[in-house]
C-alpha cells in the first residue's frame, strides 16, 4: 500500500557495538505495530531511526515509497511520543500541543488544540505547566502534541512505562481507541509483552538487534519461532530432543529423555538434528494416573514440588524423572482439586498444542520465562 | 548560589556528550574565543612569568632585564622567604581544617534540616559576600580591635591576658582566612550532601550503626567529593591571600602573597617576584594533585 513504512537492510552501529543488525521490516499503513524486546535489544534505536533522531549506518528507510533515510527529524511526516514524555517545561500545555502546528506556520491553532485536548480528555488544562499534571495527564499531553500534526506514522517509545499498573491498563485501551479513531500507523516500542499483545495487531519480537519473529500476537504465542520467543513471550516447557526426527505420515516423532513423542508436521520449525519439543504450561493437564490420560494425548510422569495459587489458576512445578522442573498452569475452574507437593502426577498434552524448534548445540531443557527487565 | 554550581560542576562526574553528526568544526568555533582568551591571558602570562623568573637579577625596570637563565633566582628566593612559604601553607591548612569543621554542620543543616527554609539559608551563606571582601575584612578589624567588646569580654573571662590582643596575631589572620573562604567550603559540601539519600542513613541505623558510626561509614564517605572540592576551593585561595595578613596581622604574620605583592609593586624586583610566584603556583599544584590522587576523586579535575 502507498503509506507503508519500510526498513530495508537497516544497520546501526555505535563504535564496535551493533545495535540494529541488518533489519528488514514492513509496517502496513494504518497498522498498530509493536516492537517488543528486552532493554538493549535495539528496539528504541530502530524507532529513533524512523524518527530521524539516529542515522542508519547502512540500509534504507522509506515511507510510502519515499526515501526518508537521510531526512532531518523536522522534515519527516512522523511524530514521536517520547519516553517520560519530554514535555517542554517552560511552555504551557496549550503551547506544548500547538508547538508542531506553529512551526509548520499554521496561523490559527486554537480550534485544533482545543479539539485535541478534548480528544485526550484534558479540556481545562491548557493554561497549566507540565509539572502541574500527573503522570497519566502528561502522557496524554505528549500524545496530543504528536497527534495534532496528523503524522503518517506515530512512534511511541515506551509511552506507558512510567505509569502504575492500573493507569497503564486504562491507557492501553485509550490508545487503542484513539488509534482506531484517527487511523494513523502506530509503531509502539515496549518491553511489556502483555502490553504488546493487547494493543498491537502485529508484534515483532526483537533480540540482539534482529527480529526473532513477526506476526499476529496469537500466532506468535501459539507457535513461537525460536526458543527466545517461546520464553520471552510468556513461558514454555522446552524439552531437549535427541536423535533427530522421524516422519510418519503427517506426524513427526522425536525422542526426549528416553520417551518417544509425536508432533504434527505442520507444528515443526526444526531444520536440523538438535531439537526442542515445546509445550506451553497452560496446555499441560495434570491427571492422577496414566489411565486418565485422554485418548490421543501424550504424557509423562513426575512429582509435584511446588504449587502457587494465583487466583485464576494454580501454577505447579512438576519434577520429572530426569530432574527437570516443568511448569503447569491448572485453571481454577472448580473441576479438579488441588495437588499437594509430593503428589505423583501424570502430565498430559494434546500433540496439536506442542511445537518443535531448533535447539542450539549443547543447550538443555528450558522451562523458565526470561526475566523481563524494567526499562 | 552560583558557587554551588561550581561545587556541583566540579564534584559530579562529567558525562560524555553524545556524538553529533556532521559539522566537526562547530565545537572548535565555539571554543575559539574563550580558549584564545585563556591561552593569551592565562597560559601565556604563566610562560612569561617563568621567563621573568630567569632574568638577570641585577637588572631593573628602568635599565631593562636580560634573559640570563638565572636558575639561581629560585634557591635565593626560597632561602630568603622559606618561612613565608611555610607560614602560608600552615595558615591555609589550619584555616581549611576550621572551615571544614564549621562548614560541614552548616552544609548538613541546610541540606537536611532546613526544610522549606533551605533556599533562604543558602542565600544567607552567600549574601554576606556581596559586601566587598575588603570592607568585610576591615569590619573584622573593628570587631577584633583592642578596645572592642570582644577583646574586653575575653579579658574579663580570663581567656585572654590583661594586655592580650586578637588583632595583629596569627589567630586574627587565620580567623580572617576562615571567614573569607568559608562559603567556598560550604557550597560544594552542600551540593554533595544534598544528593545524599536520607534512606541510606535509615538503612545504616537499621543495620545496627549508631549515629556516630553512621556518620563515619556512610555520610562522610558519600560526601567526599564535596569535601575534596571544598578543601581545594578553600585552600588554594587561602594560600595565595595576603589581604588578611595585611589588614589583620603585622609583618610577623606576612604570607608569601605579601612578599610577592611588594616585590612586584614596591621593590620592583621582577625576577625574584616571578620566581616566588612560580614557586607558589608549583607548590599549590603539587598539593592539589597529591591530595586529589590520595583521596581517590580524580574526576574532580
Amino acid at each position: 500500500m502507498s503509506g507503508d513504512l519500510r526498513l530495508t537492510n537497516v544497520t546501526k552501529s555505535f563504535g564496535p557495538f551493533t545495535a540494529v543488525d541488518d533489519l528488514t521490516l514492513t509496517v502496513p499503513q494504518g497498522a498498530f505495530f509493536a516492537l517488543l524486546g528486552a532493554s538493549g535489544c535495539g528496539k528504541t534505536t530502530t524507532l529513533r531511526m524512523v524518527a530521524g533522531l539516529e542515522e542508519p549506518s547502512a540500509g534504507q528507510v522509506t515511507l510510502g515509497g519515499t526515501d526518508i533515510t537521510r531526512l532531518r527529524p523536522y522534515q519527516r511526516p512522523v511524530n514521536t511520543v517520547f519516553q517520560s514524555y519530554a514535555l517542554f517545561p517552560h511552555l504551557s500545555i496549550t503551547e506544548n500541543v500547538a508547538f508542531g502546528l506553529r512551526r509548520k506556520g499554521v496561523k490559527n491553532v486554537a480550534p485544533q488544540v482545543e479539539q485535541m485536548l478534548s480528544l485526550v480528555q484534558l479540556d481545562d488544562f491548557g493554561g497549566r505547566r507540565p509539572h502541574q499534571l500527573s503522570g497519566g495527564q502528561q502522557q496524554r499531553v505528549a500524545l496530543a502534541r504528536a497527534l495534532i500534526n496528523h503524522p503518517q506514522v506515530l512512534l511511541l517509545d515506551e509511552p506507558l512505562g512510567a505509569l502504575d499498573l492500573k493507569l497503564r491498563r486504562q491507557m492501553q485501551i485509550e490508545l487503542k481507541r484513539i488509534q482506531t479513531e484517527v487511523g494513523i500507523t502506530f509503531v509502539h516500542v515496549t518491553h511489556d509483552q502483555e502490553e504488546a499483545m493487547t494493543m498491537a495487531d502485529t508484534v515483532a519480537v526483537m533480540n540482539d538487534g534482529r527480529i526473532e519473529q513477526l506476526g499476529a500476537p496469537a500466532e506468535i504465542y501459539e507457535f513461537p519461532a525460536t526458543p527466545f520467543v517461546a520464553n520471552f513471550l510468556g513461558q514454555s516447557n522446552l524439552l531437549a530432543g535427541t536423535g533427530g526426527l522421524a516422519r510418519s505420515g503427517d506426524d513427526l516423532s522425536i525422542t526426549a529423555h528416553g520417551s518417544r513423542f509425536t508432533v504434527p508436521a505442520a507444528r515443526s520449525r526444526a531444520t536440523g538434528d538438535k531439537i526442542y519439543l515445546g509445550v506451553r504450561p497452560e496446555k499441560l493437564h495434570l491427571v492422577t494416573s496414566e489411565a486418565d490420560v485422554p485418548s490421543g494425548f501424550q504424557h509423562l510422569t513426575g512429582t509435584v514440588t511446588d504449587s502457587s495459587y494465583v487466583g485464576v489458576s494454580t501454577q505447579y512445578l512438576v519434577r520429572t524423572a530426569w530432574d527437570t522442573e516443568l511448569s503447569v498452569f491448572a485453571p481454577n475452574s472448580g473441576l479438579g482439586g488441588s495437588l499437594p507437593p509430593g503428589a505423583e502426577v501424570t502430565v498430559a498434552w494434546n500433540p496439536a498444542h506442542a511445537f518443535l524448534l531448533d535447539r542450539l548445540d549443547g543447550a538443555g531443557d528450558a522451562t523458565h520465562a526470561l526475566v523481563e527487565e524494567r526499562a | 548560589m552560583s558557587v554551588a554550581a561550581i561545587g556541583a560542576g566540579t564534584g559530579s562526574k562529567q558525562n560524555e556528550p553524545p556524538q553529533k553528526t556532521g559539522r566537526a568544526w562547530l565545537p572548535y568555533l565555539l571554543l575559539l574565543p574563550a580558549g584564545l582568551w585563556l591561552l593569551l591571558f592565562f597560559a601565556l602570562p604563566l610562560v612569561q612569568l617563568g621567563a621573568t623568573s630567569l632574568y638577570d637579577p641585577t637588572g631593573s625596570l628602568s635599565t631593562g632585564y636580560a634573559m640570563t637563565w638565572s636558575f639561581g633566582n629560585y634557591p635565593e628566593a626560597l632561602d630568603a622567604y622559606k618561612w613565608h612559604f611555610l607560614r602560608s601553607l600552615g595558615y591555609a591548612a589550619v584555616a581549611t581544617a576550621i572551615c571544614l569543621l564549621l562548614g560541614y554542620p552548616l552544609a548538613y543543616a541546610i541540606a537536611h534540616r532546613a526544610g522549606r527554609w533551605k533556599n533562604v539559608l543558602l542565600v544567607g551563606v552567600i549574601a554576606p559576600f556581596f559586601t566587598s571582601f575588603l570592607i568585610r575584612t576591615l569590619a573584622w578589624k573593628t570587631i577584633l580591635s583592642d578596645n572592642g567588646p570582644l577583646v574586653e569580654a575575653l579579658r574579663t573571662l580570663h581567656l585572654l591576658g590583661a594586655d592580650g590582643r586578637l588583632l595583629a596575631t596569627p589567630t586574627a589572620v587565620i580567623m580572617g582566612l576562615v571567614y573569607n573562604f568559608l562559603p567556598f567550603m560550604v557550597l560544594p559540601l552542600y551540593a554533595s550532601l544534598e544528593r545524599l539519600d536520607q534512606r541510606l542513613l535509615e538503612a545504616a541505623g537499621d543495620l545496627y550503626a549508631g549515629p556516630v558510626s553512621t556518620f563515619w561509614k556512610v555520610t562522610l564517605p558519600l560526601s567526599m567529593p564535596g569535601v575534596v572540592a571544598g578543601t581545594l576551593l578553600t585552600f588554594i585561595p587561602a594560600t595565595g591571600d595576603y589581604i588578611n595578613a595585611e589588614l589583620l596581622g603585622t609583618p610577623r604574620e606576612y604570607m608569601i602573597g605579601n612578599v610577592i605583592d611588594s616585590a612586584f609593586l614596591v621593590r620592583l624586583d621582577y625576577p625574584q617576584a616571578a620566581a616566588l610566584s612560580f614557586l607558589l603556583m608549583a607548590v599549590v599544584l603539587l598539593v592539589v594533585f597529591v591530595y586529589v590522587r590520595r583521596s581517590g576523586t580524580e574526576e574532580i579535575l
Binding site: 500534526n149 | 556524538q19 553529533k20 591571558f41 564549621l102 539559608l121 554576606p128 559586601t131 570587631i143 616571578a274
Partner: protein, 257 residues
Amino acid sequence: MRRHWVLVTGLLVLLYLFLPIFVVAALSFNEPSSRLSYDFHRFTLDNWANPCGPGDMCDAVGRSIEIALLATLIATVLGTLMAFALARHRFRGRDATNLLIFMPMATPEVVMGSSLLALFVAGGVSLGFWTVVVAHVMFCVSFVVVTVKARLAGLDPRLEEAAMDLYAGEWQTFYRITLPLVAPGIVAAALLSFSLSFDDFIITNFNSGTTVTFPMYVWGAAQRGIPPQVNVIGTAMFLIAVLIVVAGEIINRRRAA
C-alpha cells in the same frame, strides 16, 4: 537531639558569617570621632544622605561598575559558547580544554595577577582600564563555563529531540527550547561574574596602573582612614544583591505557578 545539635551549630556558623555585615551596617550610620577611628561614636544619617561625600569614591564605584559590566558581558558570551562546545560536542582536545578551564580556578590570584603583569610589562602594554577588563574576563570565563555547563548537563536531550520531531529546525530548536531552558544558568553565571569582577582586588592591584576601582579605593583609604561612606556602599551592595536574589526567586515561583 542530634537533629537540633546540627541545626543549632549551623545557625551559629551562619550568625558568624553575618557578624561583619551587622558591623558594616552599623558603621554606615556612624559619625566617627576621628579619621582613623573605627569605633561607633554617634548615630547619623549623613553618610546615607551624602554617599558621595569623600572625593573620588563614587568615581571609583562607577569605574568598578563599568569594568564589571564589560567583563561580565564578554566573559558570559565567551564562556557560554565554550560551555556549549563542552557539553554538546565530542572533539579532540576536550581534556586539554577542561584543564584550561580548571587551571585558573586552581591558581592563586596573586599568581594570575603577577603573571599577567609580567606579560604586560614584557609586551610594553600600558596598564589601565583595559588591562583590568582583560584580566577580569580571564578569571570570570572559567566560572561562567562551569556554571552554564552544569545547567546544560541537567537539560534532558529529549526536549530538543522532541522539538525537532515537532518540525522545529536546528535554529528554532535552539532559541525556542535550548536557550530559554539554559537561560537561568546564563543569568546566574553573569551575576557571579559581575560580583567577582566588582569585588576583585588582588588581580586588579597588579594590573590597574593608575586606574582606581572601588576595592582599590578602599585599600588606599584603609591606610589613611576609611570614610564612613565606604560602609554605606558595602551595605547598599549587600541590600541590592539580596533584592536581586529575592526578585529572582519570586519570578521563579511565578513562572512555576
